[in-house]
Symmetry: C2
Subunit: 345 residues, 2 copies
């Protein structure tokens, strides 16, 4: 398998990209790399890393998508950028998946333009991998769209289910719809209709019903389906909460001589805690619903995080994600429209 990499995307590109690539290369065999970016900035690193260089093909691209570019601006001058070329390699069949830490909006826009949506997908969805008390959950959409109607939420469920199997290995992922639980006011119309659609889809899904915000980290579902606005607010809120509690913890363990001494003695345990709270462990959002795989690494990630994103791309590339989603989308497209009229009634 070959991964196509935008070497110039991200806050500390290309250094973090190259260091992350080196980490990943040492950990995983059987994967080659197409590296897109400025030759003069990339070649010196490769010449110092023969093991990596042997598995890497360097493709010079002079232009770079800026992190400040709006998607529409980026699109106008996208051709020939390292980001465009990385995605183009997937379309051309030279690579199985593309990975970039660059501008999210531009990456989504270019991906949609170059790879096009899968048949049966109205809107692609951005995923997040969410740590939970029992392991990891997939949440989608976390920001590719503002809104989602019932039919779109159903396709998110289909994509999230196959994605969960591909990257977390759960055999039959539990699917939940994100909702609120204040008694009779059970959610928007779209959510109630989506519940009907998923239940009556004829797909062999383990649909567990509505879940609330606290259920995400609670590990109640393997896949949490929501619209992009709500998913993005939830994801950012969780990040903010984790940062707040991290600052509380630091203060508590530096609040006096005894606290500092205790922290020193418990340092191994605290190191494992730090590792678990480390966002790079779960780095990598995937834009699902396109004719090709595109993994978005966090722009501010470190080398470890970029390596995680590469591993995610390789896991997805080795899985049957794309075929499974296509099969399920075809199944609901062929299904009699009874469910829709039921819902409308």
């Amino acid at each position: 398998m070959t991964l196509s990499i935008d070497a110039m995307g991200g806050d500390s590109a290309p250094d973090v990209v190259l260091e992350g690539l080196k980490l990943f290369c040492a950990r995983r065999s059987g994967v080659d790399f197409l590296l897109h970016g400025r030759e003069d900035e990339l070649a010196p690193f490769l010449s110092r890393e023969p093991a990596l260089a042997k598995r890497t093909t360097l493709r010079h691209a002079d232009a770079v998508v800026k992190s400040s570019d709006k998607p529409s601006q980026a699109l106008r001058r996208a051709r020939g950028t390292s980001m465009w070329n990385a995605i183009e390699s997937v379309k051309a069949g030279e690579a199985t998946a593309a990975v970039s830490a660059g501008n999210t909006g531009a990456l989504m826009a270019i991906s949609m333009l170059v790879l096009r949506k899968m048949d049966g997908v109205h809107r692609p969805a951005m995923t997040a991998i969410w740590p939970t008390v029992t392991g990891r959950a997939i949440v989608l959409d976390v920001g590719a769209n503002l809104e989602a109607d019932a039919q779109q939420l159903l396709t998110f469920a289909i994509m999230g289910e196959a994605y969960s199997r591909a990257v977390t290995g759960s055999e039959k992922p539990k699917i939940g719809l994100l909702n609120i639980g204040t008694e009779e006011m059970k959610g928007h119309d779209e959510i109630r209709q989506a519940a009907d659609l998923i239940r009556n889809s004829g797909l062999d899904f383990d649909y567990i019903g509505y879940v609330e915000g606290n259920d995400i980290a609670g590990g109640v579902a393997d896949v949490v389906v929501t619209d992009g606005f709500t998913g993005n607010v939830a994801l950012k809120t969780a990040e903010g909460t984790a940062r707040l509690l991290g600052s509380y913890l630091r203060e508590a363990l530096t609040s006096g001589t005894m606290a500092k001494a205790g922290a020193l003695i418990a340092s191994n345990g605290l190191k494992s805690l730090k590792a678990r709270m480390d966002p790079s462990r779960v780095n990598g959002g995937v834009l699902l619903g396109l004719n090709g795989l595109v993994v978005k690494s966090h722009g501010g990630t470190d080398a470890e995080g970029f390596a995680t994103a590469l591993a995610l791309a390789a896991d997805l590339g080795e899985s049957h994600y794309q075929e499974e989603v296509a099969a399920n989308l075809a199944r609901i497209a062929k299904a009699p429209k009874d469910t829709e009229s039921e819902t409308a009634a």
Copy 2:
């Protein structure tokens, strides 16, 4: 000032209510209590607590709103319940604020029926007090409604601003609108229209613009305005994240002999951390926008948490919250409708 208390609401009523009341009574003078509930369950406690009994008037109510009742069911048989009577006391002018740990939906429905909405308020809003790196922020609506249009978001801003001054003491609270930040897709129409309305309201507000989920705990704004669906998901997601990180911390500090020893030595610092992560410290949601004050305590709270809810009710009762909101609502009602046509244009 007199507080009116539903003694029978909550998972461990009336015990937790009575113990919380006793805590609050010892900490704060100048507040009397109207205690609504079953005399035979309440009188024995009061007879053992003479200091509390001296400041308490017991009002027998036989019926109780069940936690499993849907709001519509609860409303049908609400009259004569301890919850209804607690709110009725506020309407009758016998008490400044009502406090209940009972069924949220029923409390909202009964409060709206008994107290009615303030002039200029289309929908009341439920608030949450949110710990931040710089102190506390107010988030509203966290679940009284599913949706909110621009005009409703403006009234939430007005209510949240006065509430923030009343309970956190910030002189001129910074107001932010919760949104997502994926480049050009800046939020729903309602949010963009609400931004225009707040900016052009003529009110002397410190409106700081859009904030994202991570900005809530980041302390960027003192008041975060959002619709009830999004606010509820954000609140529950933060709770779930805090619980997950708490379980990580426990595991890290019990993962071996050294970790345990370190935790023991640092125990004072960790105790202060535990106190800061304790949800009872920020217990108490207020249903804003009614002709009277109603504080909702978490149903599963402990005595400390119920005492916090009582303190919140007392703080609000001593403030000029109600007058300030009424004045600002009157101001926007009188304002020329230019802003509306601007927004529509």
